[in-house]
């Protein structure tokens, strides 16, 4: 809708936003911890009307031959047609693959989980951690919502009990041992509308934007992952502003993870 795009841009040029927020203000964030009892860890995240669920499953697997003492970790995200009227059936599009990749890199390649601690018996058995994101309602900023859900789910993940054969015992209660996490990554995404950087965009704002940057931060305030999206270029100033704000806001958001 051109009218709405123009309106979002006009407001942004005056330093205002469509829902009255400040440029660096997120919508209300709510995390519901462990809504899925069957998963080893789970979280439902609401950012405004955007709703996603992340679930963590742990299983016992053989390690890769080149890394005999390391467990493995993978993250995936599905764009379910339930989440938006614009969904198109068919194979996953570039957007959903990028989302899954950014989440995956935010946790796996950043070292949020020490895979060496997932070794049960060197060369024989390791834990395999699967994080899956289920998007229920898309009202903008799926990236931050999904990353936060993944982070929160991993933070409440506990190991399942093993039976005498060393396989996961689904009938026994889960252990109280928590998954060892090095830090809780939190992503902050900014969309560039006109010459302004907007934190936590709504769908209208995403639509009116020309570029995007996601910065994932660690508990210690360092940056763990960056992803720039969209066509238009960003200035160094804009990137540094995004980094600084992500570090600051990331701290507040991380406090919501229980």
């Amino acid at each position: 809708m051109r009218v709405q795009d123009d309106f979002v841009r006009k407001l942004a040029s005056e330093g205002k936003r469509i829902d009255g927020r400040k440029m660096d203000e997120t919508r209300p964030i709510e995390i519901i911890s462990r809504p899925i009892e069957k998963a080893e860890g789970s979280a439902l995240v609401r950012i405004g009307d955007t709703q996603v669920i992340a679930g963590v499953k742990l299983s016992v697997a053989e390690p890769y031959s080149d890394r005999p003492d390391e467990g493995s970790l993978m993250a995936g995200a599905e764009f379910s047609p339930i989440a938006s009227p614009d969904f198109e059936p068919g194979p996953p599009n570039a957007e959903s693959i990028e989302l899954a990749r950014v989440i995956d890199r935010g946790i796996r390649e950043s070292g949020a989980i020490d895979v060496k601690k997932l070794c049960i018996k060197k060369g024989e058995k390791v834990w395999m951690v699967s994080v899956d994101i289920n998007i229920l309602d898309n009202h903008g900023n799926l990236l931050d919502a999904s990353a936060l859900a993944a982070s929160a789910a991993l933070a409440n993940t506990v190991f399942p009990a093993l039976d005498k054969d060393g396989k996961v015992d689904f009938y026994a209660p889960k252990t109280k041992t928590k998954l060892p996490i090095a830090f809780k990554p939190v992503a902050c995404t900014f969309y560039k509308v006109g010459d302004k950087m907007l934190l936590d965009p709504t769908r209208d704002e995403e639509h009116a934007a020309t570029a995007r940057i996601t910065i994932t931060t660690r508990d210690d305030g360092n940056v763990a992952a960056i992803q720039k999206g969209g066509i238009e270029g960003l200035t160094e100033e804009e990137i540094m502003y995004a980094a600084e704000t992500s570090i600051k806001k990331g701290k507040d958001i991380r406090k919501l993870i229980k």
Binding site: K38, A39, G55, P81, I82, D132, F170
Partner: protein
């Protein structure tokens, strides 16, 4: 006879229904039957794509049932399986019987159901959630659809099989039923039962569906009239 969760033979699991849980969908609902949780979203009636699937005289009810990878004990692969496609089709038939599809020629009524936790009875939870979501969307219908599975354990008929009960029962008999029109829109059975068993179990379906219907209506009333 004692059931694993201490329920009486003719008792449903804890049933929790909430309507209007999603904002993008025209209508939506979350149904929890014990530990099984289904979230349903309805879009439409809307233009049907691809066009060659349009029916000139009526709308098509399309269902997409999927299980979240983390919904079960063992992680399920994301995406569609033969099982999920079969359930999608069965659910579509169960629901379409109730919808005035003739009011929207060519259009599509899309029902998406995500099972976010599975502990037996996912198809009945899916159909119960989808029916509430359809009504919530303002779709014209002949009746609500209520769905429950009946089993028989140690000679006793039991309502709404949960978890391991599915293995202990001599049969799994899921039925979807229109309580006002008194019509069955979906019925499946796996097991070994007599005609007498069928009769007895149908009685339980009818009785139980009254309870489900009441909960469905309450959820919709709560959503719209606060």
């Amino acid at each position: 006879m004692k059931r694993i969760d201490g329920r009486k033979a003719d008792e449903l699991r804890e049933l929790e229904i909430e309507a209007g849980v999603l904002r993008n969908a025209t209508g939506s609902a979350r149904v929890r039957m014990g530990r099984t949780i289904a979230v349903a979203g309805v879009y439409g009636p809307r233009e049907m794509f691809p066009r060659r699937l349009q029916k000139n005289e009526k709308a098509t009810v399309q269902v997409r049932y999927t299980m979240a990878p983390f919904s079960t004990d063992e992680r399920v692969r994301p995406g569609r399986s033969r099982r999920s496609q079969e359930i999608s089709m069965v659910a579509a038939n169960a629901l379409e019987a109730a919808v005035f599809t003739e009011d929207f020629p060519k259009a599509s009524i899309d029902v998406f159901v995500d099972i976010i936790q599975a502990d037996a009875g996912t198809r009945t939870a899916a159909i119960n959630a989808a029916a509430v979501a359809l009504a919530d969307a303002g779709v014209p219908m002949r009746d609500m659809i209520c769905s429950v599975a009946i089993g028989k354990i140690d000679g006793t008929y039991v309502v709404d099989l949960a978890g391991k009960e599915e293995d202990a029962s001599v049969c799994d008999f899921p039925v979807s039923y229109m309580p006002n029109l008194k019509k069955v829109t979906h019925m499946q059975m796996d097991g070994n039962i007599t005609k007498k068993d069928m009769e007895e179990m149908m009685k339980l379906v009818v009785k139980t569906c009254e309870k489900i219907h009441k909960a469905q209506k309450e959820a919709l009333e709560k959503r719209w009239l606060k």
